[in-house]
Structures are given as structure tokens and as C-alpha cells.
């Protein structure tokens, strides 16, 4: 203290500064500026620069105008400016100069800031200037070096050529990759590079050659994660579109299986393919699918889940109207019924349209099984949906309104169990339902090693503890457990979600009005589902107006009885098989031994 007083000229102020609060000089925090704000920032910076080095009056004037009007520049104009400076100049044709082309590639891929784009310049056969370009990581380097660079650099390869442009000759004679084609549009060049292909350019030509060199790391064909079955194929889709199409094509060996490619997403240009059998699928359906996909205007398309939301009929419906599957065999069987499959690059799922409600209850399991077992497990699934949606609601209605329906002994047992529980039944149910949903969600999100145990922890410990702590009655645990089992038995993941949500509606309806409320809620939901369509097909057309039976809707009939394809899809070929599909039953087995006559002979 004394030191400070002695040292400072104005001791009082120093002293004061020690005991008063001083605001710290904080550096400005980072924040993301608005688009226009950024503009004005730049403007002001430029202004400062201008002040220091005054160059042109025009610029200043425009800046002043901008400031005076404070007019935000519309996004479309911004875009225009960019494109004007970028592609527009050579939008339709490719320059004949190698320097301009290198410049074009660098500009389009933001090189050298962007490190992924590789532009390799060299001289073809030591004479002609050329370059190849590809995206590092997306293209297979061994293919490039062995089958593109090596032949091109070989001295004698191009010397004999007499054509004007060496690339034509190269395309025909030198490039050793399987696929290679001429590309004349700059946009296409970019697209090819983005896909992992290698583009080759030689000085003096007005086109590129694109050679197929796609080679990136991908997951192998694995077991399906969400649609496991016991008997039957264990192959599932993976994230690569090509592989997925192959998996389907492997099952349907038919030359009429058509794969059409469409591009969706303006910025990420995701590849999407439509699979159908020409001459079987109704052309109207194919047309409609293409119309809807082409009609999507969005900048980012990530897989099939997003695609579904963009093309489905009822976006507010609680049940899905598009079937999602990760099984090639299921996709194939739907294609064979005259439906259209949509596969999107980057997601291991196929979307199938149009579908009716019963398809959501099917799995390939019953196709592989004998019909008796198939029918049985299907009935179990219908029961599962009913339980998962209704059971808690029914319980509430039963104990809250319709107690005369409970067997007396059970009722007294319920009362005794509930004797020390302080909450109303509704709260008990909601409590347990919510914790069950928590367990479920946590079980999916939790890291793999402890993921398996969460089920045990959740079900056993939480349930047991809740009962012991008199928070819920034990009967309720059974209700919730059975409900949970029911929702797990629903084969379609999306449908299961719908059922889980609807369950809460039924709980509230039952709490408000008992079974009458459940009936009302059921009518409301049924009315909504009945009014829905999936790509022009009424969603429950199998129950609705009488249609030709495919014998594979709700019950599964013997496979020889399934003579027709599903009626609502209106396939071009209605019959799946003739009336007598097991021709052998109508004929004698020709074993070469006439057993009857032999017997007769012995008798004689």
C-alpha cells in the first residue's frame, strides 16, 4: 500500500482503482453474421481501404448508395453474380485451351484451397500437353496409374495417330478402363469428377474423356440390421447404390428390369435410381414416381428417408405410406408384383411404392416358410399391433370405467396391489410408458458395449424398483411389458413409431371417456387411414371395395393358390402363375416301374 502511494503520482486514484470494479477489455465474441450484415461489414472495411487509398469515385458512389438505401441484396442476385463470374462464360462449351481448362477446374473446385481435387499435367507420349483430374479419395489410384497414366505416357502410343484431336484416338485406342466416354459439357465434367471418375483433357480438344475409376471405401454386404429373419436370405443393402442395384438384379435375372437414374439435391447431387420391370409395372406409376422425384427442389438429399418425406402423399399421416426395406429379396418380390423400388445412394434402404397397409405387416420370413406357419406369424403380428396400440388404453378404460368386466378375483388383486400406490392410474401408466420410451431410445443411442445391458437395467431394475417403491402397481408392469413386446413385434420400423404415438392418444381417450373414448379415437384414426392413398392406391384397398384376391394379403394361402398379383397396383400382367402351377400333380410319375401290374402278376 505504502509502496503504491509512494510510487504513483496520483496516489488517490491508484488507491481507488484498487478497490473499484474495472470493466475488462474483452475481445469481441465470435458470432455468425447475417448474410446482409456480412455484406455491410465488407463494405465498411472496403470503405476504410478506400479512404486510405482513394482510387475510383464510382465505387465510392455505389457504396454510398448502398449505405443510403440499406437495400439488402436478394439471394438470387448474389447467386447470379457468382455464376456469372464462374460457369456462365463457358457454360455450354469447353475451351480448347489447356490453361483455360485447368483454370476452370481449379476455379470450380476451389483449388488450391480445396485440397481434394487433383490436376495432374503431363505430356502424352512426350508431345501433347494434357492433364487428368480427379477427386482424391473418390477415385481408385491404382486404376488411374495403371490403366490411364501408363498407356498415355508410353511413347509410341499416340504418335501414329492421324486424327485432329488426339483425345478421340486416345479414347478408342489408349485408355484401358472399362467405361470411358466423351464429355462435352462443363457441368457434366464436374459431375463426373464428383462421382469419382477421372477426366482426361488434351490441349486443343473441346471435350473431355471420362474414365471410370470410381473406388472409395465402402461397407461390404452385411446382414440386415432391422429386418432380420430366421429362414431365408441374410443379405442386406449397404450404402452404395451400385451394390444395392446389383443385389436386386442378382435375384431378378430379367432383361426387362430397368434401372433409371435421377439426380436429386442441387448441392449434393445425390444419385437416385428407380427399379421396375418394364412390361409389368404400370407405366403410370413409373411416370408418377419420376414426376415426383424430378419435382423435388432442395439443395441436400441425404438418403431415402428424406426422399420418402419429399414424395409421400400424406405428410401428416401417422402411418407411413411408403414401404421401406433393407432387404434385396423383399425389394425384388415387390418389384415382381409390379411395384417400383426407389434406391438412393448413401442409404441401405429401398423405398417401395405403391403399397397397401397389409404390406407393412409382412416380412420375407413368411414367404420362405410354409403357408401355415406364415399365416400364424402374420396373425401374431396383427395381434401385436392391436396390443401395442390399445392395451394401456384398454386397461385404463377397464379399471376406470368398466370394472364390472374384470373378473372379481383379478380386480381384488389389482386393488390390493394398488392399495399403497398414491397416483391415479393414468399417471401410473404415463409414468411407465414414458420411462419405457426412454429405455428404448436410450438403448439405441447408448454405446454398443453397454447397449445390451440397458434393456435388462430398464426392464428389471426400474420395473422392480418402481413396484417396490409403490410408485406403480405390478399389474401395470405386465401391461407395459406386453405393450412393449407388441411394439417390438411390428415388422415395420416406421409403423411401429406410428403405433407408439397412437398409443398415447388411446390412453388419453380412455382416461377421458372409457371404451367410448377408445371407440371414438379408433374411428377417427380409421377414418384418416381409410382416406389415405399411396401413389394413387387407396391405402387399405385390400379391405375396401372387393378386389381380386392375391391370397397373400392378410392370411397367406398356399403358394400355388397365389395366382394373381395384387389388384390395387394394376400391373400389366395380372397373373403370376397359371391355375395349375404344380403341373406334376396332374401327371403320373414315370418311374419306369408299373407297380400295379407287377402286383397283379405276382397274384396270378
Amino acid at each position: 500500500m505504502v509502496m503504491i502511494l509512494k510510487k504513483s503520482k496520483n496516489g488517490f486514484w491508484t488507491l481507488l482503482s484498487l478497490i473499484t470494479y474495472k470493466k475488462k477489455d474483452k475481445p469481441e465474441e465470435f458470432y455468425i453474421p447475417e448474410v446482409n450484415e456480412g455484406e455491410s461489414r465488407q463494405v465498411s472495411q472496403e470503405k476504410n481501404n478506400d479512404k486510405s487509398t482513394p482510387s475510383t469515385n464510382e465505387k465510392q458512389n455505389t457504396q454510398k448508395d448502398n449505405k443510403g438505401l440499406k437495400k439488402p441484396i436478394p439471394v438470387s442476385e448474389l447467386k447470379k453474380e457468382k455464376t456469372e463470374s464462374g460457369v456462365k462464360k463457358d457454360e455450354n462449351c469447353i475451351s480448347c485451351s489447356i490453361d483455360e481448362n485447368i483454370d476452370f477446374i481449379n476455379r470450380m473446385f476451389n483449388a488450391p484451397v480445396n485440397k481434394d481435387i487433383v490436376v495432374r499435367e503431363f505430356n502424352i507420349a512426350g508431345h501433347y500437353k494434357a492433364f487428368i483430374t480427379y477427386l482424391s479419395g473418390m477415385a481408385d489410384k491404382i486404376t488411374i496409374s495403371n490403366f490411364i497414366l501408363k498407356p498415355l505416357l508410353a511413347k509410341k502410343s499416340v504418335e501414329d495417330a492421324e486424327e485432329d484431336c488426339k483425345l478421340d484416338y486416345i479414347l478408342k485406342n489408349v485408355i484401358e478402363t472399362h467405361q470411358a466416354k466423351k464429355i462435352t459439357s462443363p457441368n457434366e465434367v464436374i459431375y463426373e469428377i464428383l462421382n469419382g471418375n477421372t477426366c482426361i483433357y488434351a490441349d486443343g480438344c473441346n471435350f473431355y474423356i471420362s474414365a471410370e475409376t470410381v473406388g472409395f471405401d465402402k461397407r461390404g454386404v452385411d446382414k440386415p440390421q432391422t429386418e432380420g429373419i430366421v429362414s431365408g436370405s441374410q443379405e442386406g443393402f449397404n450404402e452404395t447404390l451400385r451394390t444395392n442395384i446389383t443385389l436386386v438384379r442378382k435375384i431378378i435375372r430379367n432383361n426387362n428390369l430397368v434401372t433409371e437414374f435421377l439426380t436429386v439435391g442441387e448441392r449434393n447431387k445425390n444419385l437416385c435410381s428407380i427399379l421396375y420391370i418394364k412390361g409389368l409395372a404400370n407405366p403410370a406409376v413409373v411416370q408418377e414416381v419420376k414426376r415426383r422425384i424430378n419435382g423435388i427442389k432442395t439443395d441436400f438429399m441425404l438418403g431415402d428417408g428424406m426422399m420418402e418425406q419429399f414424395i409421400e402423399d400424406n405428410t401428416f399421416s401417422i402411418v407411413p405410406t411408403i414401404l421401406s426395406t433393407e432387404r434385396p429379396d423383399r425389394t425384388a418380390s415387390h418389384i415382381m408384383e409390379g411395384r417400383v423400388a426407389i434406391l438412393v445412394d448413401g442409404a441401405p434402404f429401398a423405398k417401395i411404392v405403391p403399397v397397401t397397409s397389409h404390406s407393412l405387416f409382412h416380412t420375407p420370413e413368411e414367404t420362405y416358410l410354409r403357408w401355415q406357419y406364415g399365416t400364424f406369424i402374420r396373425l401374431i403380428r396383427f395381434l401385436a399391433v392391436a396390443l401395442a396400440a390399445l392395451l394401456p388404453g384398454l386397461y385404463i378404460g377397464l379399471v376406470g370405467y368398466h370394472r364390472e368386466m374384470i373378473p372379481t378375483d383379478l380386480m381384488i388383486a389389482i386393488v390390493k396391489a394398488k392399495e399403497n400406490v398414491p397416483f391415479p392410474t393414468l399417471l401410473e401408466i404415463l409414468l411407465m410408458e414414458v420411462s419405457f420410451e426412454l429405455i428404448r431410445e436410450a438403448g439405441i443411442r447408448i454405446p454398443g458395449i453397454i447397449g445390451n445391458t440397458i434393456g435388462i437395467i430398464g426392464a428389471l431394475i426400474l420395473g422392480q424398483a418402481a413396484v417396490q417403491a409403490n410408485i406403480v402397481s405390478p399389474v401395470l408392469i405386465i401391461i407395459i411389458a406386453v405393450t412393449g413386446l407388441g411394439s417390438f413385434a411390428i415388422p415395420n420400423y416406421n409403423l411401429a413409431f406410428g403405433v407408439r404415438i397412437v398409443r398415447f392418444l388411446f390412453i388419453l381417450a380412455a382416461a377421458a371417456l372409457g371404451y367410448y373414448g377408445i371407440t371414438l379415437a379408433f374411428i377417427a384414426i380409421a377414418a384418416l387411414i381409410l382416406s389415405m392413398k399411396s401413389f394413387g392406391v387407396p391405402f387399405v384397398s385390400h379391405l375396401g371395395p372387393q378386389v381380386r384376391q392375391s391370397h397373400d394379403a392378410i392370411l397367406r394361402w398356399p403358394v400355388w393358390k397365389q395366382e394373381y398379383r395384387p389388384d390395387p397396383v394394376n400391373p400389366l400382367d395380372v397373373r403370376r402363375q397359371p391355375k395349375i402351377s404344380r403341373k406334376w400333380t396332374a401327371k403320373d410319375p414315370k418311374t419306369g416301374i408299373d407297380r400295379e401290374r407287377n402286383n397283379d402278376d405276382e397274384g396270378r
Partner: protein
């Protein structure tokens, strides 16, 4: 289309709103569920109502808990009506429903009759007529219509007090299974509340209930009496007369028969069986007949109906005639005398004996009801076909004319199965 959808949704929402947001929901543990309802006559034209309901203590199923009642000392607990996990309360009021309300001055939970299993009328009340008590109960929403109705000797209150469950923990199960025993022995009928009431209204059938009582275990012979007295069959018992000891004191045996709302007589357990045979409600029962080839020895028979009794009703010279043809099948239960009744020559004789036995029993039962002029068999249903309109039938009043009817009974009896043995050899001993 969209407007149409919205309209439909609004309609459904409206259903909700119009039903009112009143909290109709009653928590299951806010009520207590009476299992037995008893009615006795009391002074000043009042009625004494006795209720039995579970105490919700103990861990088992319905109405349990010997553990719960222990500890506090049996005597004092019984004063407040706690018996083995059940509580029995009695109240006096001018109507049953008000009485239940009045009970809630002391019972902490709303008493609900939705799970009532048993309705007990005292004989005294039944003889005065039950119409004053039944009609309002029929109207009451809470009342369970499939509960069983019985009439008990003595007071309903004391009957309910003796309604102590000896097997298992669940009182409601005990009551239900007790009534079901009618299917195994036919010694008393099953009568539900709704059927009882309907028969009171019916123009061609009289109501009946099971007849109950309390057994003081005094009928059991001590064993000191003369043993050489001749065998006495058939045996018909009335409640509180069954020679037995142990188990619950309350017992059901025989039938109380009503003329309209008033009880006018009883059938003993054997007559009850005969009545149930004609009504096609006799499932099975063991009947003992004397062995004619070996007097003093008996043959127990497992008897059932071979087919539905064929009943025809018609008029002859203004006299109603009822033809009843009963087909009875019997299985040999045992043959004490070891006579081979399985042989074709002997089985015919046995068939004849069974036929006579039942013909006499049916005759006796029908005569008794005709003396009381009480058609508990529902013969009127077959007579009704002779009238072209229901008004004519009602004007004729079958219930009044039953005593004039001529009832012809024919029985066909067949021994169908011989049990696990076919023929029995004489037993060998050293003598």
C-alpha cells in the same frame, strides 16, 4: 374433400365434448366391492341389509388374509365384522340402496355392487314376497345381473356370517365355485338374478332359487344306533339336514320354489335333481339304488341325461296335457354285490330298475309342484304353442291352471358304460 375430413374430425371431437369433461373416471381402489348381499326382514317394515366385502389386506387373490385378521385378537375383530380378510356389515334401512348409502357413514370407500356374487334372501322375507326389493335392484345400474340368488333358512345375516371360506383365499372364487357344484351333483339349482326376475314376469314359468341353510353338524349319527335297519333310498335332504361334519357350516341343498314373488315351498335335494332333469339342467350326479339281487347292497350310478327331454304340451277336452319323455344314461359306479350286471341279460333288468326309480322320482316331484300349483319346470312354454296370441295365453293364465294339467312321464334308461371293469369275479378268501 378436405372440408369433409375436417367436418368428420369435428364431429368426433364433438362426441367428446358433448359427453362432458366430467371426471367420470373412478379409481379402482376408491371403491369396495361387495361380494354378498343379504336381506332380512326387520321391524317397522324396514329391511336389514348385510354386506360382505373384502378387506383388501394380505397379498393373495380376492378376499384373503388369515394373516391380516390375526394379531388383534379374534373376539374384538369379530365385533366389527372382520372375518378372515372379509368384512361383514349389517345396516337397517327402508330400502336396500339407501342402506348401502347409509353404510358409507362408516365404510371409508364407496360400496359398489358391480361385483356382487350372491344375493341371499331370508326365508321369512321370501315368504312375504321379494317384489319390493327386487324391482328397484333390477333398475339399478350398479347391480350385477348374473349374481346368484338363494333363499336361506333362518336369517340371511347369520348365513353370511357362516359364509367362511375354508379352501383357498379367494372368497369370490369360493362363491362362484360353490354355485357351480350344481353342475356336478344337481343337488341344488343355479339361479341367476336376471333369470329369477324374468321367471317372475314370465307367463309360463315360476321362479325358483337354491335353498340354503346353516348346518349345526347335529344330524350326523353318532354310530351308536341300530345298524341292521333296512337301507333307505332315495335320499333327499334339505339344508341344515345333511349328515356331515366339518367344512363351512353353510350349505346349499334343495330348491325354494316361488309363486310369483312369494316363496311357497321347497323341494329336497332328490326332488331338485328330478326337476333339473326335466328342465334339462341336470349335468350329472351320483344316484344310489338298491341292488335287487342282493338286498342291502347298493349300486351307485353316475347318471346323466342321454338327450334333451322331449316335452309336448297340448289340450284334450280343455285339459292341458304334458308328455315328458326323459332319456337317462347311467354309468356303473360300483357293484357291491359283484353280480355281473354288465351281461346283456342282466343289464336290461338294471335298466328297468333305473327307469322305475326315476319315474317314481319324477312323478313325486311333479305331484308335489302340482299340489303347490307351481310350474317350476317351465311346462307353460310348451303349452304356449297352443295359443295363437300372447294375449290369449295371458288371459288363460297357465300359472293358475298348472294344477289341473295331466303330466305323463316316461323314462328311458340305459346303462352305457361299465367303468374300468367288465365283469367282476368273486373274491377269494381262505374260508
Amino acid at each position: 374433400m378436405k372440408r369433409y375430413k375436417v367436418f368428420c374430425l369435428l364431429l368426433i371431437l364433438l362426441c367428446w365434448m358433448l359427453a362432458g369433461c366430467s371426471p367420470d373416471l373412478v379409481e379402482i381402489d376408491e371403491e369396495v366391492y361387495a361380494l354378498v348381499l343379504g336381506a332380512d326382514i326387520s321391524a317397522n317394515n324396514k329391511i336389514k341389509i348385510t354386506l360382505q366385502y373384502p378387506s383388501y389386506k394380505g397379498s393373495g387373490g380376492g378376499g384373503s388374509g388369515s394373516k391380516s385378521s390375526g394379531g388383534g385378537g379374534g373376539g374384538s375383530r369379530e365385533e366389527i365384522g372382520v372375518y378372515e380378510g372379509n368384512i361383514i356389515t349389517t345396516v337397517e334401512a327402508s330400502s336396500i340402496l339407501e342402506g348401502i348409502n347409509l353404510l358409507n357413514t362408516a365404510v371409508s370407500r364407496q360400496i359398489s355392487l358391480t361385483h356382487c356374487k350372491l344375493l341371499v334372501f331370508s326365508e321369512e322375507l321370501a315368504k312375504q314376497g321379494v317384489e319390493d326389493y327386487l324391482a328397484p335392484m333390477m333398475r339399478y345400474r350398479d347391480m350385477r345381473r348374473i349374481m346368484h340368488v338363494i333363499v336361506c333358512k333362518g336369517k340371511a345375516e347369520s348365513f353370511i356370517k357362516e359364509n367362511i371360506n375354508t379352501i383357498g383365499e379367494s372368497e369370490s372364487k369360493a362363491i362362484e365355485l360353490m354355485a357351480t357344484q350344481s353342475l356336478n351333483n344337481g343337488l341344488f339349482p343355479r339361479m341367476t338374478f336376471i333369470d329369477f326376475y324374468r321367471n317372475m314376469l314370465s307367463p309360463y314359468e315360476q321362479p325358483l332359487t337354491a335353498y340354503a341353510g346353516i348346518n349345526d353338524f347335529s344330524k350326523l349319527s353318532s354310530g351308536d344306533e341300530e345298524t341292521a335297519s333296512p337301507l333307505k333310498i332315495p335320499e333327499g335332504y334339505l339344508p341344515s339336514e345333511v349328515p356331515r361334519k366339518g367344512a363351512a357350516r353353510r350349505e346349499l341343498a334343495g330348491t325354494a320354489i316361488f309363486n310369483g314373488p312369494k316363496m311357497i315351498g321347497v323341494l329336497d335335494s332328490f326332488e331338485t335333481r328330478c326337476m333339473l332333469i326335466i328342465k334339462n339342467q341336470f349335468k350329472r350326479g351320483i344316484v344310489t339304488i338298491e341292488d335287487r339281487k342282493a338286498p342291502g347292497k347298493v349300486i351307485p350310478l353316475d347318471v346323466r341325461l342321454g338327450r334333451k327331454p322331449v316335452i309336448k304340451g297340448y289340450f284334450e277336452n280343455g285339459v292341458p296335457i304334458i308328455d315328458v319323455r326323459v332319456n337317462i344314461e347311467a354309468d356303473l359306479g360300483a357293484i357291491q354285490s359283484r353280480v355281473n350286471y354288465e351281461r346283456l341279460s342282466l343289464v336290461e333288468a338294471l335298466n328297468g330298475q333305473i327307469k322305475e326309480f326315476f319315474e317314481a322320482g319324477l312323478r313325486q316331484t311333479i305331484d308335489k309342484t302340482q299340489r303347490l300349483n307351481c310350474d317350476v319346470f317351465g311346462f307353460g312354454e310348451y303349452i304356449a304353442g297352443n295359443f295363437s296370441t300372447i294375449q290369449e295365453l295371458e288371459a288363460y293364465n297357465w300359472k293358475k291352471h298348472y294344477k289341473d294339467a295331466k303330466v305323463n312321464v316316461t323314462v328311458e334308461a340305459n346303462v352305457r358304460r361299465t367303468g374300468l371293469m367288465f365283469g367282476s369275479k368273486p373274491l377269494k378268501s381262505s374260508q
